[in-house]
Amino acid sequence: MFRRLHRTATLLALVAVYLPIPSSLLARVHPDTFHRQAAIVTQGISPSAKPEGYSLRWVPGSGDGRTARVEVSGLSLGALKALQNLRWNLADWKRVLAIYTEQGNSAPASGLPPMLGTYRVQSGIVSFEPQFPLDPGVVYRAEFRPDQLPGSQSAKDARLVAVFKPPAMRQGPRTVVQQIFPSSLTLPENLLKFYVHFSAPMSRGRIYEHIHLRNDAGKEIELPFLEIDEELWDPTMTRLTLFIDPGRIKRGVRPLEEIGPALETGKSYSLLIDSEWKDGAGEPLQTGFEKHFMVAAPDRDPPDPASWKIQAVPSGTREPLRVTFPEPMDHALAQRVIQVVTDSGREFPGEVTLEDQERRWVFVPVNPWRSGTYQLLVPTTIEDLAGNNIGKPFEVDLFEEVQRRLATPTVKLPFEVR
């Protein structure tokens, strides 16, 4: 699910030098393994030409290359003792050793604070450990100011600088849109939602800029989706729920909004996901995705489980149980909420898939079927493509709704296994 690190990528780690840093001094290393990279980094930072004997270096941590600490050595005994006794606060430490981020190729903006971390004085070394993992694509610049040490006689403004660039993430297969549900090519005018499934975790934040609904003339439909800052992701961030804004679903006999309904019967549309959307690793999608569909008449009828067809299964086998709906059902809900129980009401576990454009529910039991009565438990919250529940259309007035609401939240469909 998560990408491995690109361990052969460039690791840039650098030697302490007086500013300005000549680019020739930036040692680019290209070892085979991360451990070897770290070793070379250490070697590269061996004391050399430090007028005052100070050395500043980055020490990569073991593992994924997202951790590293900064070490300063060569401090006098007097300075070390003083540092241990001074009980400095964070602001004092930052004057001596500060770590800044440089983003992309741009120079660091002035006035940006140094990053947070923990300072230590141990075994003659001053170290800084960042509070957060280091990010690929960001250059970290450590600045050491010897003149800020207690009792220092260093020249004012003298500083040592060492930069570190964490290895890039490995580019395995690029992330793609795997599927968009409903999978049917004809959708009702009052369609309530889409589910977009990705092959790897995605990134959140301003995602709606990457999702477009276009009519058959290629014109973009304005604000068709319910845009929610929190965004409706599943916990793995591989599935996004995209609700059509209820204010854009055509109701009654005429559209009441100046902006009009998002979808209209008889017309065709495309749902587009653009490739600029970045995945969880910060990489754009391999390619965009387009789902074409036609729009049919609105569906205002609640699903009726009495019309579902349950195909008989033989006992002693693990033959799939197939339940056919007369209309496509909501993919996520049909997959998750329908349960099989035994006659005694115990859950009969199995694996569920949906076929035939979410018109068929297929259940493969973990254990073989036994002769007797089973039940299909269907919560009334299950929805069709228009969000109609069992016993409750999506749009109803309150009085009608009260009368029509079923007393029980679950519909039971018994079936025999022989």
């Binding site: 770590i99 981020t101 947070l116 929610i228 902006i259 998750r336 749009e395 007035d397 309150l398 009260v402």
Partner: protein, 373 residues
């Protein structure tokens, strides 16, 4: 968002401060000290005594944190941080595009701003609480050793899993779209990512147990039908006719009023739609404030300048029951403050100023104090 501000309630706040010492032990007595587990940080809201409520959507919980930030603000101070996302990114050692500000609230006692920040945008993002004090320098609030309590939210009635073996998971999640505190209750608006259902919960604080979500049903004038399952985008607790109410803003911006007393487990509530504010926008944040002896609502939204709504007629305004055609407005009158553009987050800083997170043309975010209109 966020907190109460109403004539009848403000004196209570003052009284609350006076008896703060006596109450402190009561509100925090059951809290434990340590590091709260937060998988994410969504909407924020302040309660009394510097207690910050944090919604953790990933963890399906509300965490109450005693910030200890209870020194009253001394005089007026205006916060201003240009490029607040860049500064926070520098502190957290990442790039500005990996910093999301998910909410911003002002501590009503100290007038310090608190920001719910996500470091990273993927599933491994780390939630961070950032504070901006009078010096306008963002700082990370350490949660290593704080007094806190936690209320886990109940999930869907049917809590099934999909997939097999290691791939088994429950893809259902309920996002918390807003959070507020009123009297002795934390109010939580939520929206699920599968069934289209909006819940509004009220949890007594200090936390004891979480009650089932109360389903909310409202009349949505612009659709000519009863809208049974519209999600609450933002709400503010408010006193109408001496009774505590919620004013909630929905998609396509109807403003709906609910009596808080009606929020009971399993209850079906019908709110009173008091205004249709036109379409083509989505409400983001809402505050209530007073100016010139009058009370106003300020509603930030995605597509227009900010809306300023007088609450004078809130009690008497006729309920909207008929369809409101062609995106017209009905109910409470409002004016649009055009100059307030690009507002992502809004809260009240003090009696004179609002605090906003504002998006500039270059995409940078500023934290700014703006005089209340």
């Amino acid at each position: 968002m966020k907190r109460i501000a109403s004539c009848s309630v403000l004196p209570l706040l003052v009284l609350g401060l006076l008896i703060q010492g006596a109450q402190a032990s009561k509100l925090t007595a059951d809290m434990k000290e340590g590091k709260p587990t937060l998988q994410s940080m969504g909407p924020l809201a302040f309660g009394p005594e510097g207690i910050l409520f944090v919604a953790d959507t990933k963890g399906a919980a509300i965490v109450a944190i005693a910030t200890g930030d209870t020194t009253p603000a001394s005089g007026a101070k205006l916060l201003k941080v240009e490029g607040v996302n860049q500064k926070i990114a520098a502190l957290l050692g990442t790039s500005a595009d990996q910093v999301l500000i998910d909410d911003m609230v002002v501590n009503p006692i100290s007038h310090n701003a608190y920001l719910a920040v996500s470091r990273g945008r993927g599933p491994d993002a780390v939630p961070v609480l950032v504070r901006v004090k009078a010096d306008s320098q963002p700082e990370v609030v350490s949660l290593e050793k704080v007094k806190f309590s936690r209320a886990d939210l109940p999930d869907a009635p049917v809590d099934g899993v999909v997939g097999q073996g290691n791939r088994q998971s429950n893809p259902r999640r309920e996002s918390i779209t807003d959070l507020g505190f009123f009297d002795d209750r934390v109010l939580i608006a939520g929206l699920a990512n599968e069934e289209f259902s909006s819940t509004l919960r009220a949890i007594p604080f200090p936390f004891k147990s979480v009650i089932n979500g109360t389903n909310v049903e409202i009349y949505h004038g612009a659709h000519g039908r009863f809208e049974t399952r519209a999600p609450v985008r933002t709400f503010v607790p408010f006193t109408v006719a001496k009774q505590p109410h919620l004013l909630a803003a929905y998609t396509c911006t109807p403003l709906v009023q609910f009596p808080l007393a009606a929020l009971k487990p399993g209850a079906k509530i019908m709110g009173k739609t008091v205004a249709e504010l036109g379409n083509r926008n989505r409400p983001l944040d809402m505050i209530v404030y007073q100016k010139g002896g009058k009370e106003y609502l300020l509603l930030a939204n995605s597509s227009r300048g900010i809306m300023k709504i007088s609450t004078d007629q809130l009690e008497s305004v006729e309920k909207i029951e008929a369809p409101v055609p062609d995106g017209n407005k009905k109910g409470l009158p409002y004016e649009t403050v055009e100059s307030w553009t690009g507002i992502d987050q809004l809260d009240q800083l003090d009696s004179q100023y609002a605090l906003v997170v504002r998006r500039t043309e270059g995409g940078s975010l500023n934290l700014e104090s703006l005089p209340l209109p």
